[in-house]
Symmetry: C2
Subunit: 244 residues, 2 copies
């Protein structure tokens, strides 16, 4: 058996997220079943990040083992021929036997897209949040700054089992504008469930002047999920890269 590292791109609009679920179509399941069709035996694949329903990826990384006879370039071609067109294998390479896409991941980078123009393009409806009013980018940057660093991010996460650590290191949080779009880029050594969208949702409230930029510090310190803003909707979110 050989261990492989695949870099995947997917349009998440039609899927119930990455992770296998009993009654819904997910990206992990679709990918595993396609590999199984090719190699003729059960395959388990591990993803760097578990993207939610409707979230997209430009650089999800998946590790999985296959029998040795197929070259990775042949397997990549076969996968792209058999996978639905909204899931693509951008790269497929040999990995050390110990490589695990989730456990070995040092950091991941997500980008969230917000469209602030008057009429959102018919072609962008599943790939950005539409904020019909302009957002105050300098205020959002002020609000975001204290989040960078090593913190307990439980205020910005869906409730988890109390035994699991909610401490993560947010390596960067950049916000920029490009014409009618605002981009939020977050890189961290790990993300809690809905953490990116909860942070972005809270920052958008700051950008709309519904919340003071100085509130982010006490929200973070409180550990109270109810004090943060609602998670921004999934369609604006892209998993861009996983670093090893």
């Amino acid at each position: 058996m050989r261990n492989l590292k695949g870099t995947l791109e997917y349009d998440g609009a039609a899927y119930f997220g990455w992770q296998r679920q009993p009654r819904h179509s997910t990206i992990q399941q679709t990918f595993e079943e396609t590999v199984e069709r090719i190699v003729g035996q059960p395959v388990r694949c591990h993803g760097a990040g578990r993207t939610d329903t409707g979230v997209h990826a430009r650089g999800q990384v998946a590790s999985f083992r296959v029998p040795s006879r197929l070259s990775s370039s042949t397997l990549q071609r076969a996968l792209n021929a058999l996978l639905p067109p909204d899931i693509r294998v951008l790269r497929l390479e040999e990995a050390p036997d110990s490589f695990h896409a989730r456990y070995d991941c040092r950091s991941k980078r997500y980008v969230y897209r917000v469209y602030t123009g008057g009429i959102r393009s018919a072609f962008d409806r599943a790939y950005a949040l539409h904020a019909p009013a302009p957002l105050d980018v300098p205020s959002m940057r002020v609000a975001a700054r204290p989040l960078v660093g090593r913190h307990d991010f439980r205020s910005f996460a869906r409730k988890m089992a109390p035994t699991r650590s909610t401490v993560r290191t947010l390596l960067s949080l950049d916000i920029w504008e490009d014409r009618n779009y605002i981009f939020f880029a977050l890189e961290a050594d790990g993300f809690l469930h809905t953490m990116v969208r909860s942070i972005v949702g809270t920052l958008i409230q700051v950008g709309m002047a519904k919340r003071d930029p100085r509130e982010l510090v006490p929200i973070l310190a409180s550990g109270d999920r109810a004090r943060a803003g609602p998670p921004a909707p999934p369609q604006g979110l892209f998993l861009m890269e996983a670093h090893y």
Copy 2:
């Protein structure tokens, strides 16, 4: 009653084309029903071009009459709030009482997109044809040149009632490359059914060296639909502009 000129953008992937059909969801029907919900009376709208199933528009023009009480800016906002997000009204303006989007149209411009890179993006699957090999652009340009001008284009059209003229003036046919994409832009005073896609499909055969560039002249002269190539699939085609 006031006569209005609307400029529409739509993602055609989910629709059976522009024109109303008995049992299928079309853009014309969706648009008319949305206007009717707002103005409270039956509305008939006319489009500059009847795009086929799966064909997109960045600048379809539609004309329709509404009672005078609503301003066009109010109506535009209401339409964009009530229309599905894959149909947008980019502009809505008052038009002279005699204005008719189809009969008054002097010319329309279509663009067809072909992706020639190895792995097509998961986000572009409904918006380009994937040609897995490079296409010979200079040969396609040589082949395209004699099509420009006033000709009987029946060789490049679905069979029509013999009483209707199949003569059209192709004002321009430009082909250019941009990174892994090839674009075909056609402007004409009118297009026969599947004319753009039949011309592009035949040119792609030239670009793949399956057909000599000099064949286009005898195909055009023959009037024989069977001699042209198969129509390129609809997802690469965009109605860009209608000129008045």
